[in-house]
Symmetry: C3
């Protein structure tokens, strides 16, 4: 290997060292454990009415916190199926760094009190949402940036993602429990914007062809990835919905959408490609697309057939996008999308936001809250035996999904407008942030070293291909 590569290896090593030391120092200065697992101090500008009941039964949160990390790894496994084990190492590096950094940045935004950030299991969940966005973005540029550039991307994107989350969830009080917008849409379009800026016309095209179809290996990862997603993602989608019953619906809604979307894949696949059954990667894409779409709508959809229809549509639209829109993206807009994040996260996220707006318009105390009186009766009849859960469990569903609407401080159309307005805002933030990040990544590599840099990437990337 040429000396350029040796230098860049040491550069990565040094960068990791600096960033980790920085993290340790910042943690030492600011981060403390939330005392005794009690509800963390919460600044008044946040919708804390929603988080406080959650802290009352934290046992399930724990399990969720474990599972969140898997979420990131679910993504990782998903990308593995497209890109082989060689991508795993750098993705894990990004995950490890982004979790720490997100805890810090989110701490400064949300949990900063008396000069300290108090973390608890819930903080880790939030940090992992951010990490997921970074992993989605990295999916768009995988194989074309070095691990060092990935770290810089994570550094910048975590900050911007937290900012967007703060504006949407904190200031605008948008209901987006599964993070259709702040994770999936933001992550995908951020990554695409970075990809656009970093684009190298004549070289990338060749690369792109050769990294398709890794054969058998790919299928194994796609099978494992799909199973991971089916098992754990429904509970992930519902992990931030505080209320027991609402969680119930979010899980069921996600399942119904999943199965409908899977069947839809089998409908389109024989039409679009000359295959009698879809490949596992396509089924995995349909699974991811459903997850992105149901993030916002999951806790809203009040009927099972609504979930079926939503899943069915996204299962049809996502492969169509992959077939007809991705080539357009590539040829017209010069945007490359290594792992197809636009069809699995971006487009479904946008659809999810539109669906969420529609469902918000339909939200009345009637559709959401009719369970409340019934439960109240059950509650009063068997006061001890049937309620191992805390009292908040009898609260109106509407109050949990749209607290401001339930309190009367906002009308349903206003809330719907907020939900709709969040979409262009997210797209704008993602596009601007991504372009900015792409520009920074470009600056970092001086013109002269570009070619060496490129070789390094190639060397990095080609490790898995030797064995296959």
């Amino acid at each position: 290997m040429p000396e350029h590569t040796a230098a860049s290896r040491l550069r990565l090593s040094g960068l990791c060292f600096l960033l980790q030391i920085l993290n340790i120092l910042l943690f030492a200065a600011f981060v403390r454990y939330s005392p005794g697992g009690s509800p963390g101090p919460c600044p008044p500008q946040l919708n804390c009415s929603r988080r406080s009941p959650a802290s009352a039964f934290q046992q399930p949160r724990f399990q969720d916190a474990h599972i969140q990390v898997l979420l990131s790894f679910g993504l990782l496994v998903a990308f593995l199926s497209r890109y082989g084990p060689g991508s795993a190492a750098s993705s894990i590096l990004v995950t490890a760094f982004a979790i720490q950094w997100a805890l810090l940045i989110q701490g400064f935004f949300y949990f900063f009190l008396n000069g300290k950030i108090y973390v608890e299991a819930q903080s880790l969940v939030s940090a992992d949402f951010c990490t997921a966005a970074v992993l989605i973005s990295s999916g768009a540029v995988l194989g074309r940036v070095s691990p060092g550039q990935m770290l810089l991307l994570a550094l910048l994107e975590v900050s911007l993602c937290t900012l967007s989350e703060y504006i949407l969830l904190g200031l605008m009080a948008v209901s987006d429990s599964g993070r259709s917008l702040t994770v999936h849409t933001f992550g995908a379009y951020f990554g695409l914007a970075v990809s656009r800026v970093l684009q190298q016309p004549h070289k990338d095209k060749r690369k792109r062809e050769e990294q398709r179809d890794k054969g058998q290996q790919t299928d194994v990862f796609a099978v494992v990835g799909t199973i991971y997603l089916w098992i754990f993602w429904p509970s992930f989608t519902s992990s931030t919905t505080a209320h027991h019953n609402a969680e119930n619906w979010a899980v069921l809604n996600t399942y119904f959408s999943l199965v409908a979307s899977t069947v839809a894949t089998f409908i389109l696949s024989p039409l679009l490609y000359e295959e009698s059954t879809p490949r596992m990667v396509q089924i995995q894409d349909a699974t991811l697309a459903v997850m992105a779409m149901m993030g916002m709508a999951g806790e809203m959809l009040a009927t099972p057939f609504g979930a079926l229809i939503a899943g069915f549509l996204v299962g049809l639209i996502s492969p169509l996008g992959s077939r007809f829109f991705t080539p357009l993206l590539h040829s017209r807009l010069k945007i490359q999308d290594t792992c197809g994040v636009h069809n699995t996260h971006g487009l479904p996220g946008v659809l999810g936001a539109l669906l969420g707006t529609l469902l918000t318009l339909l939200a009345t105390a009637d559709t959401y809250g009719y369970s409340s009186p019934l439960e109240g009766i059950t509650q009063s009849q068997e006061p001890v035996a049937s309620s191992p859960k805390p009292v908040p469990s009898v609260a109106c569903r509407l109050e949990l999904v749209f607290p401001l609407v339930a309190q009367g401080s906002r009308t349903v159309p206003e809330q719907a407008l907020m939900q709709l307005g969040a979409l262009p805002l997210t797209l704008l933030l993602a596009a601007l942030g991504g372009s900015l990040t792409g520009a920074v990544l470009k600056i970092r590599v001086p013109r002269c070293c570009r070619d060496a840099q490129y070789k390094e990437n190639a060397a990095f990337r080609e490790v898995p291909e030797e064995g296959s």
Copy 2:
């Protein structure tokens, strides 16, 4: 590819489309969420005494509901090790369709009230049991039917499986919490009956030989599949046992059987095959066999050594069946069994039913209920602190496993007779239903297209073999 194949591809696409639209329409007409997670309305002919305490602490049910789907995928992974990733796509299609269909059919049987089916997490669990039966059946005919035929098989089997479940669990009040009979035995013999009807003498034999020994790939799937089963299936076996303590025993019993069965595999393997250690596929088969056997007996076995003995015996019988009985099945009865479901589900299910009958005969309030007074005392001494669980947790174990016996409306020998009588009934229903389904699948493929159909299957099947 010939035009026949193109036509059949479109046929699959159209079939999926029709079935999914049908599902959506039926869901729209009938299925609603159970209001507020409260205990679903329950028709009086069912043993609801058993289900009602379950709805009191639904938090664990949630986790189970997630895990159930994995059960199906566990099976799927198990089949992967025999059949390669090419089988995954069609199995996932069957799973996605069967879950929806089972929710509908089971809803009509169980939860139909005022013209609506009210679904909750528990419904998904029941639907998944049915889906597991379909997957087991499909294991017997994998590679010899097209995905379209699989869908038809699922369509018919779900209905018959629900009918059999209704008769056994609803009308006869048989105790079969892990579904040894209604899932494992029914699924296996249903699949074998279908296989018998669809059998094509001169062609299948050749196929059967070549799909053995996929080498390294196979081992990877078998390792992953075995680990999946070890981790998640014990909790699956116990997921329908309502009572906390009974659940405890079911999990422990399943574990003890598992370890004994695994050791038994190592005893027989060097004798039956010329290998010093069994291959992972054999260990996986032993794991599956234990699961099928302990379905009924899991919550009954009151001693750890009983579980060890049961596991040890099934670990010896299952490989013996695989070695000596499967060739007989094939040569005499002309029944092919692609994934060996007879030895891993059918035979152990029958053994499990016999074991369950034996244990029912031994059931007295003495063996099951002696924990009750002790717990009652604990309960009264520390009324609040030590009982985060609802009051039903002090009920007698006997009441939970055999509610009718505990209520005095049925004697122990009567219950044992019911348990025993359920076995031939299940076999009869499975054989009749399977033959019927096989006949329908045969009709659907006109004689003239048989050969093209077969080629299609071959093309479908050979996708994974290219890469290996």
Copy 3:
């Protein structure tokens, strides 16, 4: 194959049969289910104050019990990445046997009452800890002992491991919830001692070279293994900490260490090896090392940055050990270490014990218990709604981590001395026990059959290599 091999195959079969029958007889004579899931009878010489609150909310224990078995399998998967699927079969055999044997041996030590051993889910967790130690030890000698020898190793090591656990946790009241000492350190040095005794100078060297770098296959297992560990091990580390809040910290501490250690791997890898990014196996090793280190310290570390620093250091030390110390071990001490257990379990375990001692010295009611008054207030204000957990949840953290210190019967320096003294004691027991076991394994193979034995191992070992 020669006749020696056939004989040895039958010997393994017979050994399995004898051991399983022995287990069944012992289980029949001694083991009973703990009545009704109530807290098991507990001999007074144990620190039962710690176990009794745990039995109050056993629901999470269940999940843990499932996950424990996976722990063993996590290890197994970890070893797979070094050794290929051929090692899986014998590891599963060892697991299946060791769980039964550990239940018996630990039962005699801890739960023996009125001539019976009463088992519950918690017993299975303890048994699985022991099994983990056996699997760690087997990692040091994998590929150089036959499955039969592995069984003997398990037979002896389980007894010695339980003895060491009894001395450390029972008699000395050392706080080691994640078992840095009794599982990781003991298992690693036990295995190394066995390896030293069994060492065969001229033959092993050649073997060792050829079993490196299995290529692509290896990477798949390493990716899956790393993901498994990330998902499940943090909850494993905290599974024996009884207190809800303490558990919280243990999980978070483990996560923080994990991410820091992963970044550290990326720092060292380019310096030590000529690779731009570490291979997945190295990341997996870092993950394992963190787990071993945080076992004891996990529930003690009271600040997030402490966890970061600890993880960072172990992430640096472990690869350095692998690079510079393992060759020394091999060349000077003639100790082979097939799967590198010294760097992933032994050394980090020792570091963990030292860190635990340091943290014990810093333990005051101030750092551990300052959450108590705050929680007490919350408790009194909302007596029913906010406390679905039993009352012990308001107890002082200190009491849970160091019960004797909290009760005043031991001072902090005394406790620290105990923690420190446990380290040389563990090393001594492991070294003596391992040497003894190695000697027994050597005796069992008479001089004359040595060569045949060796061939058998080779045949056993080479199964996976055929396919690769």
